[in-house]
């Protein structure tokens, strides 16, 4: 009886250790995923902000070109803020490119982040050209130059907006994937804890039952 009890307790302890390890590992992943979801929320917020800034800049440019205003500070401020956000996002994604923890679980993450980096490089190139074109456009007197640059600025503005839309869509998708993964891990941990409880209490009730049986047998013997 005593040996059976020790083996049983050992089994309970063993299952407990395994369950705890899995739950702790999941917890770590859940925390990391949660952090990533928060990060993605910020990034998506930034994309929306950048879209607003680009469209705001375009609107200011049209206002200026149409002769409604001579103020160019707002236009310049929109683009400066856009640049700042762009730098921030680039840094944010670059920090994950060398993140070994990410690479261990997701083989495709490097590919995806590299793709995003490519899009960022393209946006940066476009915005550099956009700034050059717009700067000349708002100062030049030459009607031919104005026409050419207006078209170029509109095209570049639209291209930047489209590229932003693409990365925003990708960020949305990544966020959903991370969220799903986090929910799976939460569910897995819950199941492990639940099944452990079932096993644990089954063993506990079995032990009480066996003790009681012995007690009843002794009671019968003395009476």
């Amino acid at each position: 009886m005593k040996r059976k009890l020790v083996v049983g307790l050992g089994l309970v302890l063993f299952i407990f250790v395994i369950s705890a390890m899995v739950v702790l590992k999941n917890l770590d992943n859940i925390v990391v995923n949660h952090r990533l979801i928060n990060e993605q929320d910020i990034i998506i917020g930034k994309y929306n902000e950048m879209l607003f800034q680009m469209k705001g800049a375009q609107a200011e440019l049209y206002r200026h070109q149409a002769g409604y205003t001579r103020n160019i500070d707002d236009l310049v401020d929109y683009i400066a803020a856009f640049d700042e956000n762009m730098e921030l996002l680039s840094r944010q994604y670059s920090s994950h490119l060398d993140d070994i923890a990410c690479m261990q679980c997701h083989e495709k993450i490097k590919e995806r982040l590299s793709l995003l980096r490519g899009i960022f490089t393209e946006i940066k190139r476009q915005i550099k050209d956009y700034k050059r074109d717009v700067s000349i456009l708002i100062t030049t007197n030459d009607s031919r130059q104005i026409k050419t640059l207006e078209d170029a600025a509109t095209k570049r503005g639209n291209a930047i907006t489209e590229l932003l839309g693409t990365v925003r869509h990708a960020a949305d998708k990544m966020r959903e994937e991370i969220k799903n993964k986090r929910n799976i891990l939460i569910g897995q941990s819950r199941s492990i804890i639940f099944f452990y409880y079932i096993f644990h209490y089954s063993f506990f009730y079995y032990y009480i039952y066996r003790c009681n049986q012995r007690y009843f047998r002794a009671y019968k013997f003395f009476n």
């Binding site: 307790l9 500070d73 400066a80 000349i136 409880y197 063993f203």
Partner: protein, 310 residues
């Protein structure tokens, strides 16, 4: 034995539960100190080069002056060299970094006071106007090769980008500057005038030597492709001038702050953004050679239009 079993049975499930419920808390302490300053001091900036770069260059200076003068120093970008006079006249700005010819014209019509101007890294506080072309354009220092070509200038109220080429051709015997060329493009800024030549939109151009150096350092590929055809005398680079009706103590305080900028760590940062070593005092007399140049081409600085329209 029973005690061990019971303890194990009670503690284990709870410990697993506690592990599952643990939470990581992060506390961010945000220090958000805002000092509210009274009043605004607006300084206008000419579009001598890319307006986005201009704002970036002057932002640290505005921040430094805001703290030093305990007022909100605001940078206002202008879209044309011609608007500066109206802004001063309408009192929408308190001061501006005037181009040399802009200063001469404005000073002839309203009271403005030169405060200081930056000394570029390398010790230069003046600039020269440069007439240039692209290698292989077939143009040379003989102005006859320039006839009926497309020229890219900056604006009618700039020394390097209009007055100097006009003066230079006048000296060479050309009185009808406007009709000497097939087309004159006013690009509105010095870098745009340079880009127009290298893009093939113009055959020759005129701009500030400081901006040419800057553009060439940004685009090393075209460094050897530029051919200088003529150079002007040195004139003071963009000078911070303030409205004459401003309080004397404000003017003095501004001058003192600018002239001591290179002694302060934060000031050095502002100077670095401007690519300057320090600010030096500027007097009205330094612009006399430009006034003489304007006189030589028969230009009445009291009547010459600012050509504010785009």
């Amino acid at each position: 034995m029973n005690l061990i079993v019971i303890l194990t049975m009670v503690i284990l499930p709870f410990s697993l539960m506690v592990t599952g419920c643990s939470e990581r808390e992060t506390k961010d302490v945000l220090k958000n100190e805002k000092i509210i300053k009274e009043g605004t001091f607006t300084i206008a900036i000419l579009p001598e080069q890319n307006v986005f770069e201009q704002k970036k260059r002057y932002k640290p200076l505005a921040e430094y002056l805001s703290n030093a003068l305990n007022t909100n120093v605001k940078i206002k970008l202008l879209d044309s060299y011609g608007t500066i006079y109206d802004e001063i006249k309408n009192r929408t700005i308190d001061g501006a970094f005037f181009g040399s010819f802009n200063y001469v014209l404005t000073k002839a019509r309203t009271e403005i006071e030169p405060i200081a101007r930056p000394v570029e890294t390398g010790g230069n506080s003046n600039y020269k106007g440069v007439i240039f072309t692209k290698k292989g354009s077939g143009l040379n220092i003989d102005i006859r090769t320039w006839k009926n070509k497309k020229v890219s200038l900056v604006h009618e109220v700039t020394t390097a980008g209009y007055i100097f080429p006009k003066w230079y051709l006048k000296k060479q015997g050309v009185d009808d500057f406007e009709n000497y060329f097939k087309k004159i493009i006013f690009s509105g800024s010095h870098d745009a005038a340079i880009i127009a030549v290298f893009n093939g939109q113009a055959d020759l151009g005129a701009a500030k030597d400081l901006i040419i150096k800057k553009v060439l350092s940004e685009y090393p590929a075209i460094r050897d492709d530029i051919v200088v055809l003529a150079e002007s005398i040195s004139v003071p680079s963009n000078t911070l001038c303030v409205r004459g009706d401003l309080r004397k103590d404000i003017k003095l305080s501004l001058k003192k702050t600018l002239l001591t900028l290179h002694h302060v760590a934060q000031g050095k940062k502002a100077l670095a953004a401007l690519n300057a070593e320090k600010f030096i005092e500027t007097s009205d007399l330094e612009f006399d050679k430009l006034r003489a140049m304007a006189k030589e081409i028969g230009l009445d600085i009291r009547r010459y239009p600012f050509r504010n329209l785009r």
